[in-house]
């Protein structure tokens, strides 16, 4: 009886601890800025569990930049500290001087996750189009790891598919695992089972994955791979694995037809 009780307790503890997926996040106030919207975009950066709206500490990133018309500009010094989902994050109001696609990218500091006995580095990006010009929507930044969009990463209807190629060091990653999660901001979405908080798809042999979301809103795609290097964890002094995430945030629009 005693053994059964312990087993049951352990099971309930495990069941009560959801396998929360971490996401680097760059969320603009609008992914498609028209001239009527103004002349800038407001960005919010965080590290979080987006479905649960659970923030984590985002230390000052290693890099934060914008790429437009083939030119990359360092914006790290322009970030403003902010509280996002009750934890440390950043904001930025960035002027959009010309039409075209602006790609905002962030490399965070390695995040030590004891529960996974590994560091996490999520190379995170978001595409914003300005003034009706989508040129540059398929830009590849050349990050350590990234999802290169095959579908235009804005202007998608809900239920449209999003396709991308998972790349590591510029090469496609066959059968890469991609986690997908909804940013549950102000929506209050619930799940019948915790397994559905984070959905998972695999890329094909060419590193191409496909996903169609069930609703409008912001959806995060995180392709996770293990780095070919390790980092030293300070407390133990041991070399630990590093999870590299290629994260892209895509907004799907509510279908306006009947």
């Amino acid at each position: 009886m005693k053994r059964h009780f312990i087993t049951a307790s352990l099971a309930s503890i495990i069941a009560a601890t959801p396998a929360l997926a971490h996401y680097g996040m760059i969320i603009p106030n609008d992914p498609m800025i028209s001239q009527e919207d103004g002349r800038s975009v407001a960005l919010t950066m965080s590290f979080s569990h987006p479905f649960e709206m659970d923030g984590m500490m985002l230390d000052t990133p290693v890099a934060f930049s914008v790429t437009h018309e083939g030119t990359t500009t360092d914006l790290l010094g322009d970030l403003e500290s902010a509280t996002v989902m009750d934890d440390q994050g950043y904001t930025l109001d960035y002027p959009l001087d010309r039409p075209g696609t602006y790609i905002f990218a962030m490399e965070p500091q390695p995040y030590w996750e004891p529960a996974e006995d590994a560091f996490i580095i999520h190379y995170t990006k978001t595409y914003v189009t300005a003034y009706g010009d989508d040129e540059g929507w398929d830009t590849e930044l050349g990050l350590k790891t990234e999802i290169v969009p095959l579908s235009k990463p804005f202007g998608l209807w809900e239920h449209n598919v999003f396709q991308g190629i998972v790349k590591m060091d510029g090469e496609a990653v066959p059968y890469a695992e991609v986690e997908v999660e909804f940013f549950n901001d102000g929506v209050g979405a619930t799940v019948p089972d915790e397994l559905m908080i984070t959905q998972t798809v695999k890329a094909d042999a060419n590193g191409v994955f496909t996903y169609a979301p069930p609703s409008d809103g912001w959806w995060g795609f995180a392709a996770l791979n293990t780095a070919d290097y390790t980092l030293v964890e300070e407390t133990s002094g041991e070399e630990k694995a590093v999870e590299l995430g290629a994260v892209i945030w895509v907004h799907f629009e509510e279908w306006t037809g009947q």
Partner: protein, 111 residues
């Protein structure tokens, strides 16, 4: 807030024909000139079009031909821009517009 009001005011008189989306129009100012750029969604510049310049009250100020590179420059001192400008580009089959707000002009003159 001032910019929002001004923009809303100008938007109210913006041409309805601007619903076409296959043509992109943009205009930037450096406090001396307004440089208009027009291109199609495939990236090709508009080589033949009328560029109409209207004031904030939707009064036509001038009409210019676009250059073959899809641009045209308008000296600011040649138009009454106190209420902003509406720049219409019309190819005959496509048209669109860009609004140069009073705040756009003021900001360019500060930098």
């Amino acid at each position: 807030m001032i910019r929002a009001i001004a923009l809303a005011s100008i938007c109210a008189v913006a041409p309805m024909g601007a619903a076409a989306h296959q043509l992109t129009v943009f205009a930037a100012t450096d406090c001396e000139m307004v440089t208009v750029e027009a291109k199609f969604s495939n990236g090709n510049p508009v080589m033949l079009a009328d560029v109409r310049v209207l004031d904030g009250n939707n009064t036509l100020l001038m009409t210019l031909p676009i250059n073959e590179d899809g641009t045209v420059a308008i000296p600011l001192d040649s138009v009454d821009h106190s209420g902003g400008l509406v720049i219409e580009v019309d190819t005959g089959s496509h048209d669109n517009y860009w609004i140069v707000t009073p705040d756009d002009i003021a900001r360019s003159c500060q930098s």
